[in-house]
């Protein structure tokens, strides 16, 4: 279930990268060759950046792909490292839940007051905030799962799985 959702999120993120690349190329072509710009292209690229960057984060979390420094911790006993993994997941949850909470507040505010960007299309602001919330919702779920798996590993003394 999780894997399928993350595959979908990763694919949507990849589509966003393809779209923003295409949008920039079309915009340059129109400006240099046809003599006019694509309206609101900068706003649209900025909006596409949010899914492009944030949707793959859940996958990265499930692969435990967040960069960390191994040098010193490699000398710690395995049992201590299992508890450090629990602490890492807890600290990760502090930042991720804060972002989820603040993203939700921003989304509801923008949805309620119909906030939009200036420009030709008056594009609404809520879609990128919604994407922000969706992305961090799934990262939070993955981190909760990580916390559970690492807690079990710490209590049982068994190594935690490398990926979820």
């Amino acid at each position: 279930m999780f894997k399928r959702i993350e595959f979908t999120l990763d694919t949507l993120g990849a589509i966003a990268v393809v779209l923003l690349c295409t949008l920039i190329v079309v915009s340059v072509f129109c400006r240099e060759v046809l003599g006019f710009g694509v309206p609101d292209s900068i706003i649209m690229v900025r909006e596409l950046m949010v899914p492009a960057i944030l949707f793959p984060l859940s996958s990265a979390t499930s692969r435990r792909a967040h960069v960390s420094i191994e040098v010193i911790a490699n000398h710690f006993p395995a049992a201590l490292n299992r508890w450090i993994a629990v602490l890492a997941a807890l600290i990760g949850l502090i930042i991720v839940v804060t972002l989820l909470n603040s993203g939700w507040a921003q989304f509801t505010k923008n949805w309620a007051n119909g906030a939009h960007y200036g420009g030709d299309f008056n594009l609404p602001k809520w879609p990128s905030r919604a994407v922000f919330v969706i992305a961090f919702f799934f990262v939070t779920l993955r981190l909760l799962q990580t916390l559970w798996v690492d807690l079990v590993a710490a209590f049982t003394g068994q190594p935690a799985p490398a990926t979820l």
């Binding site: 990763d10 589509i15 010193i72 450090i84 972002l99």
Partner: protein
């Protein structure tokens, strides 16, 4: 507790958490959020958690969202994708082949060609690690097949891979630009000559090394006519064109760096389709992998932006500048301190982590000495490059070892690295003493 103490404690907490293997993004972001909460809660002298919660979440959202919701930074996923697509489309191999055919008769010619190939790959991709990984798959097996010494075959590519951060485009320059609010285009141009000098330095190291011990790199019996050499050079036209789009476009003021990234990626993809090396079905899986890499980099940067807000609010950097003024170490003493700090950090931390952790504190001090931020950016990236090949964590060495499936032990790769480190240190001294090397191109814009 005064606000500066909150800032100092937050820095100490981050260092401890990083040391015990808490992921960089979690450590910086988690500590920043908690410290911001205490900062806002105790601001009026009495503890008011309700108001603090709202303010903290607001700062956390605006700092991180503004970073991600950026037009200019869309070049990061585009340049990372370009590296992948260029490899799939065969562009990377052509650069190496052209260099190999031209240089094969030199002592250690294939190793020099590998370094030149790394330089070429660096000119179309912005990541040192991607450069070491990609070129490691192409060049090192070829050198090992030709009975090159293991140390030479690996160390030359690990060192050459570091060019990815200096020769434009460069992810590190983009991240530096975010935190210092300097021009990405100017930083790209500033990195070009230092990158070229580093490349020549590495080539010289190989030349001298092999001249002194010819058995390390048996001369190949292959000979190529002038016609074949020019044909190989012409065969690498896509790489030249991509470089022209990126550097020529920015230098000539035709494109912004973001537009150059999009155009290059589109061109490389279309070329891959035309050559039949990339199929429609390959595009999304390729970009999906790019997404995971890019997401990780941005998450660190977004958390660092929250930390930067904390540093600004607590006035920590101002305190450090004052302390520095009182210490009376002078500009050159400061530069020496910077070099030592970054070289030591480079031995243990990854470059993005070092940058986001140190720049918020470092830049006000740099400005207080009146240093040029573009020049300082080049020095920082060069120092971070050196960190990529210094033990015990030299990331490029580990990436290369993985790319060649552990055919050469890590220790052996490191034993070949020190010669390249000597060259790097000489180049670093030149860059520090002669800022014109870095500033010549951006000043002539």
């Amino acid at each position: 507790m005064d606000v500066a103490t909150i800032g100092f404690l937050a820095c100490a907490a981050v260092i401890i958490l990083l040391a015990i293997r808490v992921p960089i993004a979690f450590a910086i972001g988690g500590v920043a959020v908690v410290a911001l909460f205490f900062f806002f809660a105790m601001r009026t002298g009495t503890f008011v958690p309700d108001r603090a919660l709202l303010r903290t979440t607001s700062v956390a959202f605006s700092s991180s969202f503004d970073l991600i919701h950026s037009y200019n930074l869309s070049m990061i996923p585009l340049f990372i994708a370009l590296g992948q697509v260029a490899y799939k489309a065969g562009i990377t191999t052509e650069i190496y082949e052209a260099a190999r055919i031209w240089l094969v008769k030199l002592p250690g010619g294939v190793a020099i060609a590998s370094i030149a190939g790394c330089g070429g790959f660096s000119a179309i991709s912005g990541s040192s690690i991607a450069c070491a990984s990609t070129m490691g798959k192409i060049c090192t097996p070829e050198m090992l097949r030709l009975n090159y010494d293991d140390r030479l075959a690996t160390a030359s590519v690990a060192a050459g891979g570091t060019l990815g951060s200096l020769i434009p485009p460069s992810i590190l320059f983009i991240i530096y630009a975010i935190f210092t609010e300097t021009s990405i285009g100017q930083l790209f141009l500033a990195g070009f000559l230092p990158g070229l000098i580093s490349l020549l330095g590495y080539a010289l190291v190989v030349y001298i090394w092999v001249r002194r011990s010819p058995s390390l790199a048996p001369l190949s019996g292959e000979t190529y006519s002038r016609q074949e050499k020019f044909r190989a050079l012409l065969g690498a036209w896509p790489a030249f064109l991509l470089f022209l789009i990126v550097v020529g476009g920015i230098y000539g003021g035709v494109f912004t760096a973001t537009e150059a990234a999009a155009l290059s990626l589109m061109f490389a993809t279309v070329l891959g389709f035309a050559r039949g090396r990339i199929k429609i079905g390959d595009v999304l899986p390729m970009i999906r992998e790019v997404g995971v890499t890019t997401g990780g980099i941005f998450f660190i940067a977004a958390c660092a932006k929250i930390f930067v807000s904390l540093i600004a609010l607590t006035g920590l950097s101002t305190n450090l500048v004052t302390m520095l003024g009182e210490a009376n170490i002078g500009p050159w003493g400061f530069m020496l301190m910077v070099c030592v700090i970054y070289l030591v950090l480079g031995m243990f931390l990854d470059p993005v982590g070092i940058m986001v952790l140190t720049l918020p504190l470092m830049i006000p001090m740099v400005e207080s000495f009146g240093f040029d931020l573009i020049w300082f950016g080049v020095i920082i990236v060069k120092l971070l490059e050196i960190g990529l090949i210094t033990p015990p964590v030299g990331l490029n060495v580990f990436v290369l070892a993985a790319a060649i499936d552990g055919q050469v032990p890590i220790g052996k790769i490191f034993s070949g690295i020190w010669r390249f480190l000597v060259s790097d240190l000489i180049v670093l001294i030149l860059l520090v003493l002669i800022p014109g090397i870095s500033l010549l191109l951006p000043m002539s814009m």
